[in-house]
Symmetry: C2
């Protein structure tokens, strides 16, 4: 299939998703997912657990060979064997209290390089003409800070040539090189990002993210026993799920897929069950009001009262927290009757101590009347669904269900396709079950 690939090239200097947006306009969108078409080009991503031992590497090779035997071309993207990356980080920490991030990248990139060599060897043992491909060889050009690289461009020329020679490719996830040729790693979720980018650049027919879960569920099955695996979910819903506690994938990979129109499937590396297809929304999807419910534990709330109702006060407070590298989640601002403003926000409870210290400093400058009140031990429940846009009464149903279960709601925040509430952490599982049942998420939609 020569001429089918495309050199992704993204204007440097903008943010990753902004950049992608520029390109997305000219990118052919909406790949159809045709797992049974003959001679499909399939990208499969295998995580560190899937290649965590020599036996597992043999299993991965056998799975790739099966896909190959069905007549498809396969590009496997693999992570480092589980434990290897952590071992290298420990080694660097033992050597240096303040290890250079540039050199961390050089060190960590060896983990994936070892994995691709071993998987390719195992494939060759099964008679598959496999070739390993490093991030650099895959043409992945990155930008941004070391250890947190962003993909800037992908030139698939070498991969295309090897595929045209009939090779099965094993590509190192999580890595690329800067335009100066310096080794870069992509940070958390980097291998998923590699798989999506490779699928986009090669115009793959299918992109499978093979993982240790079976797909995306209406809720975490450990919390809601009758949670149902979703056959499909839209990018936006997946993004809201990811940012509200679902551990399946990092938001950045989903954003990347959305911008490039890469349809992908999250499925198990341990069985052949169909997983969940993540795709652009289509009209049928709106028939479902709520796609799923996600929960996030270990949250904390901070409320500041007595803020003078003057311009710029909120900005100063939020800037101080930003400088302290505190990620805020929900933010609610009110003007109280007494003429003072009141602001509440949530964060991960491990950030609470640093947040309090940063706030103490900034509030001392702002007002003697300001005071801080904190609450740890809360959790967040989010109901997500693009159907919310066209259905009314969603919030009412949700609050009614929580009220019937005797669960108090703390803060509320909403987006176009999400309603999130905080509840006491001890009641989060009850809350999830109540909302899941209220929207009958265990049932197949009509």
């Amino acid at each position: 299939m020569p001429g089918r690939s495309r050199h992704l090239s993204i204007n440097p200097g903008l943010g990753e998703t902004d950049l992608l947006h520029v390109l997305a306009k000219s990118w052919p969108r909406g790949f159809t997912l045709r797992p049974r078409i003959p001679m499909a080009l399939i990208v499969q991503k295998y995580g560190g657990t899937s290649v965590g031992s020599l036996d597992r590497i043999r299993n991965v090779a056998a799975r790739i060979r099966r896909t190959r035997d069905e007549g498809h071309q396969v590009v496997a993207v693999v992570s480092a064997m589980s434990g290897i990356t952590d071992g290298l980080i420990r080694l660097a920490k033992d050597l240096s209290a303040n290890a250079s991030e540039r050199e961390m990248d050089v060190l960590l990139a060896t983990g994936e390089q070892q994995a691709i060599a071993l998987v390719a060897m195992a494939l060759r043992d099964l008679g598959v003409d496999a070739a390993s491909v490093t991030g650099r060889q895959a043409g992945i050009v990155t930008t941004g800070s070391h250890t947190r690289g962003r993909i800037l461009a992908l030139d698939p020329a070498l991969m295309r040539r090897l595929l045209d020679e009939g090779r099965t490719l094993v590509v190192a996830g999580f890595q690329g090189v800067t335009s100066e040729g310096m080794i870069h790693t992509l940070g958390r979720g980097g291998s998923d990002l590699t798989a999506i980018a490779v699928a986009a650049a090669l115009k793959a027919d299918v992109c499978q993210i093979l993982t240790d879960v079976d797909g995306v569920y209406t809720c975490d099955p450990r919390v809601v026993g009758h949670a149902r695996k979703l056959p499909e979910i839209s990018y936006d819903e997946m993004l809201e799920m990811a940012s509200s506690g679902s551990k399946v994938m990092q938001s950045r990979s989903v954003e990347f897929a959305k911008k490039f129109g890469v349809v992908f499937e999250v499925r198990s590396s341990l069985n052949d069950n169909p997983g969940t297809i993540v795709t652009e929304e289509h009209p049928n999807m709106e028939n479902v009001v709520i796609r799923g419910v996600s929960i996030e534990r270990s949250q904390a709330r901070v409320t500041i009262t007595g803020i003078p109702d003057e311009p710029g006060m909120t900005g100063r407070i939020l800037s101080a927290l930003g400088e302290a590298e505190i990620n805020l989640d929900m933010i609610v601002l009110n003007i109280a009757h007494d003429g003072f403003a009141r602001i509440s926000f949530t964060m991960h409870s491990s950030d609470l101590g640093r947040a309090q210290a940063a706030l103490k400093r900034v509030l001392a400058d702002i007002s003697a009347a300001a005071s801080i009140e904190t609450e740890a031990g809360i959790a967040k429940l989010s109901a997500v669904g693009i159907g919310m846009r066209s259905h009314s009464g969603v919030a009412a149903t949700m609050f009614q269900a929580l009220g019937d279960a005797g669960i108090n709601i703390g803060m509320i925040s909403t987006s176009e396709i999400k309603i999130a509430v905080t509840v006491d952490e001890t009641r989060i599982e009850d809350a999830a079950r109540a909302v899941h049942d209220a929207f009958r998420l265990d049932r197949e939609p009509a």
Copy 2:
């Protein structure tokens, strides 16, 4: 020093040393070794033992920093931490009985990549602005088989740029990439080869091969207690020593240095004693008749008698051994009185079994009269020195000394600058001491 570097470019398709010879004609020869010149560019090669633990890595970093503090630019070439390469080989063997050599290269190259990252981190901890450089980043382009790559060209542009920025470089030994960008390792002695090639391309003032021996000795000090460290030795003598049992360096690195006129010093990584300078011969060197004596144990001799004295017979026998990948060392051919030829050769004794099997097959085709006689448990002693060319009586002195010590000589072979004999392995140390004493190698030459 911009503009000082040079892109080595060698015509592909020829042998490594032939190729180098082509280039050597146009290459500035005979670097002078000026360890005390201000702002010298010094290449230092550290082997796997020198970086074999985090403490040793810190020691290497401290040594590089000392050199740096003396005002010099440093390019350190490092091997993988000792044990790492063997561990990776074991992993590959556990996975696959017949691991792909292409993938072995991808796997093994990670060992050096980890080492350069760690050494660079340790340097940065000491306040040295260090940067790791992979084989690819060093511009090392290779050719030949996987796991046994040969250096084809070296483009030092990136190294030069980093040096111009004031960086101290830590370069991965043992690796490069093919002109197609595939990862290649350089085989045994590969890191020494990298150091010599980097020194040539950067026109370094000094190239130091730091190792676990103090330098090149007149004989192995474990055999001859009063062996003397040589202040200098010519390339040709070093080559003869290497090919006759001296373990200090592989011949290919010395050949490379000779062709490119890279003067280098073999010295200890554990102390600051001056080592042995390996350089082009100069007239003074010929005053010494014998530079050193090397020994090689575990040799075996095969003698074939009854070979019809016809053209092509010897060729067929040697070809059969070549196909069986037996490396022959000494070869002696005679025509006996009976009209049959007789050929003897030596090899490592571990090859003897395979050699006998290969010979049995070929001799069956050649002549019913041919028979094989073998002898294991022999050793080779070589006396090496360019002074032999202009001094007579060297062989006589040597044989006299061996005779006086009651040692029988088996085979004899000579080159322009070497006389080699086989003796019974039980007498090799006595033989070495006798020859060492006869030429008074323990004394400083006048």
